[in-house]
Symmetry: C2
Subunit: 176 residues, 2 copies
C-alpha cells in the first residue's frame, strides 16, 4: 500500500492506532486505518462412487499440478455457495454438498482453507480455462506426488481416513 485509498495521500505509514495492538497502514493525512485480514479459500472433495475428482491446474500458481476444486470466497456469498461456485468454475461439475471436512489455517500466507465433501450424482465434468484435465481417481490412483498444494494432500488424506472409519469429522489444523 503506497497511497491512501480514501484520500489519495502518499503519507502512508505502518503504526499502531490508539486502542489497537498491531501495526496497520495508517494515512497521515486523513487518519484512515487500512486493515488487512486473512482470506478464505473454499472448495470441495467431489465424490463419485469410490472415486474423487481432481483437476489439473491450467493457471498459476502450480500450473500442471493436480488440485481439489477450490478458490477465494467472494463477498456476499456463504462458504457453501463459494465452494460450489469454485467447483463449477473449475470443472463444470455440480454436487450435493455434504459435511464440512477440513478447516486448515495457513498462517504464513494468511489464508484459511475450508473444504466440504460433495456427492456427484453423475460423472459429469468438463475442462475449463482453469483446468486442463479432470479425472476421477480411486484412493490408490491419486497422484500424491503431483498435488498442487499441501492443503489438498491433508484434505484428501483426511477424507479417505474418514471414509474408512465410516464417520466424517471436521479436521481443524494449522499448517506451518
Amino acid at each position: 500500500m503506497k497511497f491512501c485509498s480514501a484520500c489519495g495521500s502518499a503519507d502512508i505509514a505502518l503504526s499502531v492506532p490508539e486502542g489497537d495492538h498491531r501495526e496497520r497502514y495508517v494515512c497521515g493525512a486523513c487518519k484512515t486505518v487500512h486493515y488487512k485480514n486473512p482470506l478464505i479459500v473454499c472448495g470441495v472433495v467431489p465424490v463419485y462412487g469410490d472415486k474423487v475428482m481432481l483437476c489439473k491446474r491450467g493457471i498459476e500458481p502450480r500450473y500442471g499440478k493436480w488440485t481439489l476444486p477450490a478458490g477465494f470466497m467472494e463477498n456476499k456469498e456463504s462458504v457453501e455457495e463459494g465452494a460450489q461456485r469454485e467447483l463449477f468454475e473449475e470443472s463444470q461439475a455440480t454436487v450435493t454438498l455434504g459435511p464440512l471436512l477440513a478447516v486448515l489455517s495457513v498462517p504464513y500466507i494468511s489464508q484459511v482453507h475450508m473444504m466440504y465433501v460433495g456427492q456427484m450424482s453423475e460423472p459429469t465434468y468438463a475442462v475449463t480455462p482453469e483446468s486442463t484435465e479432470i479425472n476421477l481417481y480411486r484412493e490408490s490412483e491419486i497422484p500424491w506426488d503431483e498435488l498442487a498444494f499441501r492443503t489438498v494432500k491433508v484434505t484428501l488424506e483426511h477424507y479417505f481416513a474418514c471414509r474408512k472409519a465410516g464417520a466424517f469429522v471436521v479436521k481443524c489444523d494449522s499448517l506451518s
Copy 2:
C-alpha cells in the same frame, strides 16, 4: 475506494477484469485490480462447569449488549490462535480450546463467524476496555433478549443442544 492504493490515481472504477466474472475496483492508470473479500470473525464459547461466560460490550456496535468473546481474525495467525487472542483481549480469560462448534456465514455483511468451545480451568476473568461486565451464566440465566448479535444466539443455542445430546458437532449455516 476512491484512489488506487498502488499508484494514487483517482481513475478508479468498477469493471469486470478479463478472465473474471465479477465487478472489481480497477485502476484505469496502472490497471491494478483491488479485491474485497469476506472477513473471518473467530471466537469462543468459554465454559466453566455448567456455566458459559458472556461479556457486556463496552464498544460499538451493540454497546451494552451481551456477547461471546469474538473478533476479527488477524493476518499471520490460525483461526484457533485468533479465537483465543480475542477471548483474552475481551475478558483476560484463558481456555483449553475444544472442538469447532459453528461456522456461520453472514453474506449480507460478508463475514464468516467461526466459534469454538473452550474449557476454563478456573473462573478467572476481568473487565477490559472492550467489556464493561463479565458473568458466568447457566443456560436458564442467559440474557437471551439482550444478546448483541444473532450469531451469538445461534451459537449458544447450538452449544446447549450439543451438551444435552452429549456430542458436539459443527453447525454450518448461513444467516440471511
